[in-house]
Amino acid sequence: MYNYVEDGDSKTTAYVEHDKAKYDAFMARIEAGEKIEADDWMPEDYRMALIKLISMHGISEIMGALPEKEWVPKAPTLRRKLGIMAKVQDEMGHGQLLLRVAEDLMKPYGKTRENLMEDLLNGDLKFHNVFHMPTKTWADAGMVGWLVDGAAIISQTNMLDASYGPYQRALQRICQEEVFHAQHGESIIMALAEGNEYQRDILQESLNRWWPSLLMFFGPASAETTGSSKQDIMIKYKIRKSTNEELRQAFLTKYMPRVFSLGLTVPDETIRYDEEEEKWIYKQPNWDEFKQIIRNNGPRSKERLRLREIAYENNRWVRQALATEPVSV
């Protein structure tokens, strides 16, 4: 599960004078479809963009397991419990792969996983907007698997050919596992959609609540909305192929017909596909609210961060017990 949050309060790294020959060779390699490895020379702004993207992606996988894990003990059947438990484990696994990729990139700056955890807890490292939201009913467990993971799959598959080798290799595995997540979510949704009135009601209520978060998922269309955007540099360096808006449009095209086919509606009476313009027309979500959410002022931001902090503190004795020499704390 992923997306790149435009956090609005960081400046794009200023262009630094690259070693021209190295830079040209680097660009020639990525233009030719070659993959850049951790120990290859890379421009500073490429490294910085990757660190920001991948550390956020990795930590979002871990923070994303938290709203879902709440439903493991409350799953309605044993089969559902096993399914959602497997999914939560996958998300933690994805987080571990991605944090490793980020750590190798941060190595020249002397930074480690411990720094990432600190950055998360002090608010410097953002996690994805959707994981600041509450999961109120079982329908939310389905909605996260179906549409939140659906949106994540749109973003992640867009980077399967990414120029950075280690990230792209992690994504091959992650996207394969996301197929299971998507179908797991669809199965929950299908049961509710074909269920009784109460089941259909909680499903519609869930979609109404998640709708703004789903639109926000892909980030604003341009930097004007939130003050900064890394999408241009990500496309220039072949980390991803499409813009935020192109990805959002692809999501709407893939999923809106399915939403409607289940007899569901979205809380935007103006939404329509414009045949002439060949795009979806929809009401913009509140981007100021988006900025607040990713600055850890969302409905569940503080609780989830506290949960992460407690887990880190409670497991300190394990790290101490396993250390070959005494660890200072």
Binding site: G93, Q96, T112, S328
Partner: protein
């Protein structure tokens, strides 16, 4: 006293999917020792896939090619064709003229069983 951050080592993880498959590099992980690395490897790479063997190797024990060495490898221009079957393709026609089939890779790799006597 060491810092808590010094506690983790990077381990590279390899696994084999079946008896005929080569050991394949999966990814890396952080662990405080190799026993924990083995447990983490199973958590991270054996959740659902069929795996019959796992290796974990401390990354610092691996001599990897450097960035420069890799560039040199991919850009070398020496011709290795004389080490391959390329250039022997004309034999197919020759054998055909003598009403014989070509013993190509597919044919030879299929010779697992010979007639029992």
């Amino acid at each position: 006293m060491s810092k808590e951050s010094d506690f983790y080592q990077v381990y590279e993880v390899f696994s084999r999917r079946g008896n005929k498959a080569p050991m394949q590099h999966q990814f890396s992980l952080l662990a405080p020792n190799r026993e924990m690395a083995m447990i983490m490897a199973q958590e991270n790479f054996m959740r659902r896939e069929e795996v019959i063997d796992v290796w974990v190797v401390k990354q610092s024990d691996i001599r990897k090619m450097t960035s420069e060495e890799r560039q040199h490898m991919t850009n070398r221009i020496d011709n290795k064709e004389y080490r391959t079957t390329k250039g022997y393709g004309y034999l197919r026609q020759k054998w055909k003229e003598k009403e014989q089939g070509m013993l190509d890779e597919k044919e030879i790799m299929s010779w697992k069983e010979v007639k029992k006597r």
